[in-house]
Amino acid sequence: MTELALLVQGLLDGSIYALIAVGLTLVYGLLRILHVAHAALFTLGGYVGVVVTNETGSFILALVAAMIVAGIAGMIIYRLVYQPILHLPPYVALIASIGLFIAMQEGFRFYDEQGVSYVNPPVQGTLELAGQTLQLAKIVTFFVAIILIGGLGLLAAKTRTGVAWRATVTMPAMAESFGINIIQVRYINFFIGSALAAVAGVMVSLTTNLVEPTSGDVWSYKALAIIVLGGLGSMRGTLIACFALGVLEAFATTTCVPLGNIQICLGEIMNRDAIAFAFLVIVLMIRPQGLFVRA
């Protein structure tokens, strides 16, 4: 029974990773940039979600506002930070991205150094399911993630924009010669990826009721580990890595394995947040190309 509960918790956490990692994979696939500052948009989403909910009382409005604000912020980041240095080696963009991440954290601190909380936290119900009490907010997060990411997949597969998008990812020069506006594709890319991170930020704030300037920290480097695991740029691989990591963390942090007379508890040996990297090291030793190679 506990195993089932852990599996469920792992999958629920995995859906948050998915919301964040999708944007990161999109950016990497398109520009070959490790967009560390992506996690700051997760935090930004959280701040907007809490503040707008507190001001207006409408959570839906807050969620939409968070998506739009973070989406636009993502486009601005592309225009002001990445576009001018695209012709430079990739590490330049990486350094710029880390710098931007720190700068944005300090920006949040200017707004509210102690972090923000909901006055009346929305979506606080619980659900009894197979003998378990689950937080409604987490279930909603799971389905929101499935719907948004599934919708994105459909968009990429079925629409003209999607075709242009995929063409730009695989062969930017060829796509441009066929009349695709690759700059526009990049803007859309940053908007969608950032908006998804904002959704994750808002949904996480529902269960913690605390958004701090450093809220994005853990997610930023963990999401990087996830997209490397997933094979850098492979959407399917990234999604599988997200849920696999969520489940792995759930079991590894709480379960002890008897080894002879002693109990080996992984949770005592390493931090929950280190597990992603241990997993990454092991996978890279066996499969240097990541779990899933880009098709």
């Binding site: 852990l6 150094e113 909380s117 009721n209 605390l210 931090n271």
Partner: protein, 381 residues
């Protein structure tokens, strides 16, 4: 050129004059996390210390001189606090220094102050090794183990709970508290069913809570700070876990209640600040702090406020700027401060009673007081 020279002359005269004015002041070094994850505690620490300095200066200062705080941001990190300690000693030439920071940062600085023989008071850092740096290092709040032992008494003897789950914060704070708790648990009839650990960056406790629920404990001894405990308690209650949660001074902030909301009701903690205190010093502090800060007093503010009063009392008694004299005065001092009657043992550890607070109707209130001198005896070596 001439105007430039003139300007430089005026400027240097100004600096000289400012230096003269400052020479009349007694400098107290102070480091706290003003930025980073612990910034909220850092803010309370600074405000608590500033309040104490203002109050003391308003009454004429110490031996005719005004106190002056020299504040640095250590981000609660040992790699920042050691250089800050060096700066406070050699550049700012402080008479003594106070840590308004966490254990990691305080441990690193304690060694530096001890080596330079500059008195150093840790306001609320709990790790046992801090005062072991040497005779120049003191602490105005409980060493982690002592508070952990009080936690065991609270659970087993006062609340009469038997089956306990530990949710332990994996840092100096959480681990030293839990060491003390485990040491005394059996003596109070407490059975530790299981223990889970989490890192300070964790805010999502789904898997741990799923296991805790299966453990069916009577009580949960969860170490942490308000920013980890707030989300933890909220998620515990949302998952239908009804066992009483026992926390420590890391919870001790109005912010904990704000984050956890209704889930905070009934949470019991061991701490140093009594909100329902009848003592004039404590009442005065609580009122003055809320007026200055714009939010309710917390443990961090109360202990840094206390540390400044201890420093002032010692400076007054020493009557000189000689570090050895100031050290000796701290060791001998007895101060009636916001967190209680403060005196130190031979290791520089504070001797006072533990106050138990409970959340009722969205505020911290008095629950009980642990006065057992044997149980609370701080280590002497």
């Amino acid at each position: 050129m001439r105007t430039k020279l003139l300007f430089a002359g005026v400027l240097s005269a100004g600096i000289f004059a400012a230096g003269m004015a400052q020479a009349q002041n007694i400098k107290i070094g102070f480091h706290a996390p003003l930025t980073g994850f612990a910034a909220a505690d850092g803010k309370s620490a600074v405000l608590g210390a500033q309040l104490a300095v203002e109050q003391i200066n308003a009454k004429g200062g110490v031996n005719g001189k005004k106190l002056q705080l020299v504040i640095y941001d250590d981000q609660a990190s040992p790699k920042n606090s050691a250089p800050i300690a060096n700066k406070l000693i050699s550049q700012d030439k402080v008479a003594l220094a106070i840590s308004g920071s966490y254990s990691g940062a305080t441990r690193a600085a304690a060694g530096v102050f001890q080596k330079a023989k500059v008195p150093y008071i840790a306001a609320y850092a709990v790790h046992p090794s801090i005062t072991k740096a040497g005779p120049y290092v003191f602490r105005t709040s409980f060493v982690g183990e002592v508070q952990g032992r009080a936690g065991a008494k609270l659970v087993g003897d006062i609340l009469k709970k038997r089956r306990v789950v530990l949710i332990t914060l994996k840092n100096d704070f959480g681990r030293s508290l839990v060491r003390g708790f485990k040491e005394k648990a059996a003596a109070y009839g407490v059975k530790i069913v299981s223990e889970y650990e989490y890192s300070i960056k964790n805010r999502q406790f789904g898997p741990i809570i799923a296991k805790v629920k299966a453990d069916k404990p009577d009580a949960i001894y969860a170490t942490g700070y308000f920013f980890t405990a707030g989300p933890l308690v909220r998620q515990l209650r949302a998952a239908g876990v009804k066992a009483v949660v026992i926390g420590q001074e890391g919870y001790d902030s109005q912010k904990f209640i704000k984050i956890a909301g209704k889930a905070a009701e009934g949470v019991v903690i061991t701490t140093s600040l009594n909100r329902d205190s009848k003592r004039a010093v404590t009442l005065g502090f609580i009122k003055a702090f809320e007026k200055k800060a714009g939010y309710k007093a917390d443990m961090v503010a109360a202990t840094t406020h206390t540390a400044i009063y201890v420093a002032a009392a010692a400076l007054k008694a020493a009557g000189s700027m000689d570090p050895a004299a100031i050290r000796a005065a701290i060791a001998k001092t007895t101060v009636n401060a916001a967190t209680g009657q403060i005196s130190f043992n031979s290791l520089g550890e504070v001797q006072k009673s533990v106050l138990v607070q409970v959340v009722r109707n969205g505020n911290w209130h008095f629950h009980s007081k642990i006065d057992d001198k044997m149980l609370l005896a701080p280590p002497t070596k």
